[in-house]
Amino acid sequence: MAVRLVDSVTRTLIRDGKQGDANALSTLFARYQERVLRIVRLRLSPSLRDRLRLQSMDILQETFLHAIRKLKDFEPTTEASFLHWLSRIVENVIRDQLDYSKAGKRDTAAERSLDQSIAYASGHVHLRDVIPDEGTSPTQAVTRKGMRSIVDELLLELDEFERELIIQRKLEGLTFGEMANDLGKSEDAVRKHFNRSFQKLVALAEKRKVPERLGFG
């Protein structure tokens, strides 16, 4: 897998964002929101995932901007390292906001999200304002979104560690070296474990007839 450097557009956006350019930040958000949201969604537990779905898009954007403001001491060189860093931060913030068990820590965003879910249940929120859930139908299967969500369904059948390996390697694009560093294991062990997880994923894909559903084969 070729290492993809952070492209010059992203670099400029990050630089301007750090200096407080709100336009640059919202553009950065537009560029990465979908990929980050996908990664975060895959890392959350099923109940938190359900709760995330009821959040308003505004909250996600706020979270995202908050994360990017933390970019002070971080100078990403590769796209993978940027993506990994960003999705971790967004995940943590979202987890904090969603986790009702953390009594007393509920901040205003969480209050609002509760209001949102009530409003949603009573039909006062427009669907488009709510974080989209990537469900699939046969016609959707040929679209990119549909393809992703079919693959995500499979990923959710793996155990947490297997899923994490595949997220890091395939969605964030980390090298085995970077993964080993992050996971505190040897590079060789990570590589072997990743291969096994992927083989398991292939077997699942075959069982669920994924190529046929996506129009391959």
Binding site: D7, V9, A30, R148, A205, P211, L214, G217
Partner: protein, 612 residues
């Protein structure tokens, strides 16, 4: 040959997947299949899974990449012929549309060199209604085309929105609103802190005040002008359809993708949904004979015009076979039944574009343009308006017997003399068939030729003509005069491109003379039209066997066996394949048949018949 025990097989598959993860591709698959032939099916299954998974992981993989002189910024569109990105050409500091062709559309060296030639020819075109190509190239097996960035949206997007609204727009201004609402280039450019490129000069404000049908016609006049220009320069489009016509925010239609999709087989290999989308605009001769030329471009523009005016596609059904059948055999419903405001002459122009026989369409795109312009100027058009009578006649021409009752009163006077001749011809035909069934081919030939000599002068009798020509082909073939047989079948197919019996006859003759590849392509077409034709599976399998393509042969034989169990000929062919592959023990044979997909009872029956 290395044959693997089950444990070993699992290891082989794991290793195979690992190699695919390290960047292996189709050649890795072939390599493994070569080493472990009995595992081909399993390996192919895994390969497809990995491919599908990778597709699901692929994020905007090119955004941010730098390819030669271009920086890829953002995906702006996606379709059957590839993904389009907003690109920045660094040396000239200008935005471009950067189109990457889908992997797998360039299967072999011949296709690749054809792509290069076509792209070179297309890049020389310079016309206000053709999107200019800046450069083309390839990097790591990826083919790309950099072209001018058009501010606007494809006509297909306009159509989607109009169809969703559920009624025809009154004036063109509604189209302008759609373009403004859908166009996302200005948004993307704003996000990157630059100005969107200035849009090309439009056609003046009065353009948008026109009634909608007149607006559509004026667009089509421009498109046919562009086609005429390209045709004069020896380039035809081959895949003209609304998604390949951009409508700029100034209201100027611009054609993209000249000469990219030539081979109808390359269309078939694309996902079935895209194929249906493309198929709906393909001409009868494109589907039947894989021919694209000026006339087929005119056809495709006719379909586009019909759809733009009525917001419905003239031939589309829900499935491939149905759509092909309609394209080959059925006139589209008159536009006026679908939309109240269609001028009679517009109906005539579209109908002339949609003549099944290429020679009855406009002779070239220039003639079409002139006719549209005459209509727009309020002068009489050359295309004959089609009244109820003419429509009936057309139907009778194609389908004399069925249409007779409905048309009886209207065209009785015309039909009576025809009927008289017809019954005489019918006698000769049935006499010929009787001879043919007895194996007396020379006599059969004589009778059919008498029938043909009378029939060929009679107008409105395309279908009987095709049938007699096919009979003639059969008789020639019976006599062993294969060249004459081929000529007869091909003439029949010129009249009716979807004539299954002629396709079968032609496939058989090609087989007899050893032209196995041509034979295969005939049966391909038969099976597309009639997917449960056992005999064609059997015949195509035989042809594949002669070509040494044993897996494909066996798959076809499997198809034949599942449609007619215990068929002796097929079993014999299967046995021949097994022995040609050098599989002598029953174990080997069983494993191989299993890989292909034969069920256990089927395998038992095959092995049993082989023993006896």
């Amino acid at each position: 040959m290395i044959e693997a025990d089950p444990e070993n097989r699992a290891e082989i598959i794991d290793r195979f997947i690992e190699e695919l993860l390290e960047g292996g591709d189709r050649s890795t698959l072939e390599d493994y299949c070569g080493r472990y032939p009995s595992m081909r099916r399993a390996l192919e299954g895994k390969f497809e899974c990995v491919r599908a998974l990778e597709e699901g992981f692929r994020e905007d993989s090119l955004a941010g990449a730098e390819i030669e002189d271009y920086l890829i910024v953002e995906e702006i569109g996606r379709g059957g012929m590839g993904v389009v990105y907003l690109g920045l050409q660094k040396s000239l500091d200008r935005y471009v549309a950067f189109k990457v062709l889908p992997m797998g559309t360039m299967p072999d060296a011949r296709e690749i060199s054809r792509f290069r030639n076509e792209a070179r020819a297309a890049s020389r075109l310079s016309h206000p209604n053709i999107v200019p190509i800046f450069s083309t190239g390839e990097e790591k097996g990826m083919y790309y085309i950099a072209m001018e960035l058009i501010q606007g949206i494809p006509l297909s997007r306009v159509l989607e929105r109009l169809k969703a609204a559920g009624r025809e727009p009154r004036t063109a201004s509604e189209v302008r609103d759609i373009i403004e609402a859908c166009e996302d280039l200005p948004r993307i450019c704003r996000a990157f802190g630059t100005d969107a490129p200035k849009s090309a000069p439009g056609r003046g404000p009065s353009l948008w005040d026109q009634p909608y049908p007149a607006f559509v016609l004026s667009l089509c006049s421009d498109v046919s002008d562009a086609l005429a220009y390209a045709h004069r320069n020896g380039v035809c489009h081959g895949d003209l359809k609304p998604s390949n016509i951009m409508l700029s925010s100034g209201g100027v239609p611009m054609i993209v993708d000249f000469g990219l999709a030539r081979d109808v087989r390359s269309l078939v290999s694309i996902r079935s949904q895209d194929f249906l989308g493309t198929l709906a605009y393909a001409s009868p001769e494109h589907l039947a004979r894989n021919v694209v030329n000026q006339k087929s471009d005119i056809w495709s523009l006719g379909v586009t015009m019909y759809e733009m005016i009525t917001l419905r596609q003239p031939f589309r059904t829900d499935d491939v076979a149905g759509t092909i059948g309609r394209i080959a055999n059925t006139d589209p419903p008159p536009m006026r039944t679908r939309s109240g405001k269609v001028p009679k002459d517009a109906e005539a122009i579209v109908a002339r574009c949609l003549e099944k026989a290429p020679e009855r369409r406009y002779s070239d795109a220039q003639e079409l343009k002139e006719d549209i312009d005459r209509l727009l100027a309020g002068r009489p058009v050359k295309a004959r308006p089609i009244g109820k009578l003419a429509r009936q006649l057309k139907r009778v021409r194609r389908n004399p017997v069925i249409s007779l009752l409905g048309a009886a009163l209207v065209v009785l006077a015309l039909i009576i003399p025809w009927l008289a001749v017809n019954s005489a011809i019918q006698k000769w035909v049935s006499m010929g068939t009787q001879y043919y069934d007895e194996g007396r081919y020379s006599e059969a030939l004589g009778s059919y030729r008498v029938a043909w000599d009378r029939l060929k002068w009679i107008p409105f009798s395309e279908k009987p003509k095709a049938e007699v020509l096919c009979d003639l082909g059969n008789a020639w073939s019976g006599k062993g005069e294969y060249e004459k047989a081929i000529h007869s079948y091909e003439t029949a197919l010129n009249i009716d491109p979807a004539m299954v019996s002629a396709l079968i006859g032609l496939g058989d003759v090609y087989f007899e003379i050893g032209a196995y590849e041509k034979s295969v392509s005939c049966y391909d077409r038969v099976l597309l039209l009639s997917p449960a034709d056992r005999n064609s599976y059997y015949q195509r399998g035989r042809a594949y066997r002669r070509l040494g393509m044993y897996d494909k042969a066996l798959k076809d034989f499997h198809g034949a066996v599942s449609l007619a169990e215990g068929d002796v000929d097929t079993l014999r062919e299967i046995a021949a394949v097994l022995s040609e592959k050098g599989l002598s023990t029953e174990g080997e044979q069983e494993a191989y048949l299993g890989e292909i997909g034969f069920t256990a009872p089927e395998i038992r029956a095959i092995l049993k018949s082989e023993r006896s």
